[in-house]
Amino acid sequence: MQKNLVRIILIFTIALPSTLSFSLHDSSYDILSEEDWSLLRQEKEKGTPALSSAISDENKWESYNEWRCFSAKNVEALCASVDDDDSHLVPIVTIQNKDGSPGYEYALGSEYNWNCNKVIESWSVLIENQESICIHGAYLQEDEQNNNSLWYIDQIKTQNGYWKMENYYDFLSYDE
């Protein structure tokens, strides 16, 4: 059954002008509250970047979560497999532009044993009939081969509500 989940692809189509860019646009202000915007400040005050280099890494780096909002018509949510293992699936969101400009690949952590189908279903409820989707996530690296920017998801928000990583327990497979 998990194998079939790889093929589960939810495409969220809405009628928006194709000129909407990947960067924050006016509609983000309809979605994000002041509290949402304050998350970055809070994380920086606490000194808790979402991602960082390993202790032994000579090139120290850290990456904080930040909000980015996208036209939902460019968004796909699907299950990617890790290390060619179809039983190890990770929910991801991809954002691609038809004009060939760089895309985004937002993923959840591969170290968790996700119930990928359950995550995708919850995301589809959030994104259904929405014009825009905002993702709170941390930048990892560029993927030059695929012209993509790779990120990790902390929260997703639309006018339908939130998905938050802090509730990840509800989306894990405990029996495997």
Partner: protein, 243 residues
């Protein structure tokens, strides 16, 4: 991240974070991306949402690869009558040291006790499954059950910190199984102390691990039967240490 908290020198990330190794993600074909694609995500440390300490299988494996080759305080290298009796000594020594360092018991855990525990639980068979018809039954070298596996990773459960998030399959890996079994023995010691209202010995903790604490203390036939092989192996290992 919990600032001011120390991290064990073998760990790869600061406190409250966990290590993620470099790994490929295979993106399946879709309408928007008919060819599919593969991306490779670099090694990094990720924040634990709770800020607590979590060990994941990749870091458990990498710690053993990097630090378990030259360890002191190895268990006695006698095979106790098993073909694989000495095969896991470095994992036993490494994880005993690690959890002693992290959980700092008043009386440090002796690696010989873990070796005797493994001998009595699985006879050093990493694929041992207590009930062949039940995949949730006790599994691997230290016979960790599926319920225990869930407790070890559950930040909302009985452990207060220092979790291991594992799959059933992981429990057949000798290194990961020993990391989990030793952590669970520390928890059983804590539970036994709560049950008896006093500090308990590591042997009593093993009795709790084997669910025969009261029988062992009261020297019932059940207690003797369940603890007998373990005590015999431990005696052999301790005698060996003296020579």
């Amino acid at each position: 991240m919990e600032k001011g908290k120390k991290i064990h020198p073998w760990r790869f990330c600061p406190p409250g974070r966990h290590w993620v190794k470099i790994h490929p993600l295979h993106i399946p074909p879709s309408n928007k991306n008919p060819a599919g694609s593969e991306t490779v995500r670099h090694e990094h440390c990720a924040d634990n949402p709770s800020g607590k300490d979590q060990l994941y299988p990749d870091e458990i494996s990498e710690i053993a690869n990097q630090y378990f080759l030259k360890l002191e305080n190895m268990p006695c290298s006698i095979p106790l009558g098993f073909d694989s009796g000495n095969r896991f000594d470095s994992f036993i020594s490494g994880w005993t040291k690690y959890w002693n360092d992290v959980l700092m018991p008043t009386e440090p855990l002796d690696p010989n006790l873990i070796k005797a525990l493994i001998a009595s639980e699985s006879g050093f068979n990493p694929l041992e499954l207590a009930d062949k018809k039940n995949s949730n039954s006790a599994r691997g070298l230290t016979q960790v059950t599926n319920d225990t596996r869930k407790i070890l990773g559950n930040e909302k459960g009985e452990l207060k910190d220092h979790y291991l998030t594992l799959t059933k399959k992981n429990l057949n890996d000798p290194n990961i199984n020993i990391a989990a079994g030793v952590r669970w023995l520390f928890q059983k010691k804590k539970l036994a102390e709560g049950q008896l209202g006093r500090s308990v010995s590591w042997i009593e903790a093993v009795a709790k691990y084997k669910s025969v604490l009261k029988d062992y203390i009261n020297s019932t036939p059940k207690g003797k039967k369940n603890m007998g092989p373990f005590l015999k192996y431990l005696e052999e290992l301790k005698s060996c240490k003296k020579t």
